[in-house]
Symmetry: C2
DNA sequence: TCTATTTTAGAACAATCGAACTAAAATACA
DNA sequence: TGTATTTTAGTTCGATTGTTCTAAAATAGA
């Protein structure tokens, strides 16, 4: 019926993610987005609504492409391995992050949830997905004997989400390998602490 | 020699902390600060310099009055007790935080360090102080037998800073008692895990 | 080839931003 | 009491903010 869109929505969202990710919500202007996505103001507002809605789309895009993808990749592994490999990847990504952008979800958690309950629910939902990923693997590991049963699976999962968030924060400020690996190591040691004489 | 200041610097800094803490750096305008501190634009720029410098002063004020004070209060306790009491207070404060402001230092870590290396160093310095607080107590606890020696004191301290940051992030998004206490409990259990048959 | 429909391109909008400026007010020292 | 010095109180500045508007350009169906 009408003129088709010239731009590639996925590429535009990638560019928008880059902007919001590295600069944050407030510090990213519409003109930043225009310059980096290549589309014009009218197209942006026409296709995505306002700045807030555009951020929402960008965040979803990031979550699915980054966190969701990582969880899917770890699903094929053994429970303990899945958790360890998850954290190994987080540490590696944090150390390779020369721009110190950190994780866009964690950034969103402190940046954008404050005065927008809708965003808070979105972020809380993703955190819940991550917690359930950990919980699933912890339970599986407890069942096959590779994970300690000295603590409740729910608490272990909550602890893992906690240390995940913590590592992401630390990495933004002090991206040292010793710090990040040191912060993670006790959590992984705790998981395996079932039969303690087995060294 | 000249006209003395009418305002109370400490009260002004308290008000500034409230602004920056709840709204963040970018979202806090000079006019917000003027309205909430009670002083005028000229007085503000005259006494504190520009917005950036004012934020720096406010952050210092917060750190000394909140984090520094908490560490000082825990210094008189036994090592294990000091760590546990520290986290108990963090969880309590997070649950009582109806505004979901979280910890201003953690907010600063993700908000203001990105494109200002000076701020990054300030925040990193405070994190180091907290890490050293934990390290001191862990070492003391390992010496008197109340803390496990199955992991290096350095790693335990790093882990504790990590989970501290993590709890602060989680609380911003999902301030549930079960989540926060669940995230902390395994870390405290790990500290005590020295003689594992003692249940 | 016409026409309806939608995306483009870029200018324009009011509002707000951080910062600076001009005087008036006020006080410690002489 | 006079004077030097500093804080006050608003106003004002140019730049930038998010958003909207007006046309021109482009294409699918008739």
């Amino acid at each position: 019926m009408a003129r088709p869109r010239k731009f590639d929505e996925d590429a535009v969202l990638d560019a928008a993610v880059q902007c919001f990710w590295s600069r944050g919500y407030e510090a990213t202007s519409i003109r930043d987005l225009i310059a980096n996505t290549g589309l014009t103001g009218a197209s942006l507002y026409n296709a995505f609504g306002d700045k807030r809605a555009f951020y929402q789309r960008a965040l979803d895009h990031y979550v699915e492409g980054s966190i969701g993808e990582r969880m899917r990749r770890c699903e094929t592994l053994e429970p303990r391995e899945a958790i360890e490999s998850f954290f190994a990847e987080i540490v590696k990504r944090s150390l390779d992050d020369t721009e110190h952008k950190g994780c866009m979800l964690v950034n969103a958690a402190l940046d954008v949830t404050s005065h927008d309950p809708a965003f808070q629910e979105v972020v809380a939902g993703v955190l819940l997905r991550i917690e359930e990923f950990f919980l699933h693997n912890v339970r599986q590991g407890q069942a096959d004997g590779s994970v300690t049963t000295s603590l409740a699976a729910e608490d272990l999962a909550r602890h893992l989400v906690g240390i995940l968030m913590g590592v992401r924060v630390l990495a933004r400020v002090r991206p040292d390998r010793a710090l990040l690996e040191g912060a993670v190591r006790p959590a992984l040691a705790l998981l395996a602490a079932e039969k303690p004489g087995a060294s």
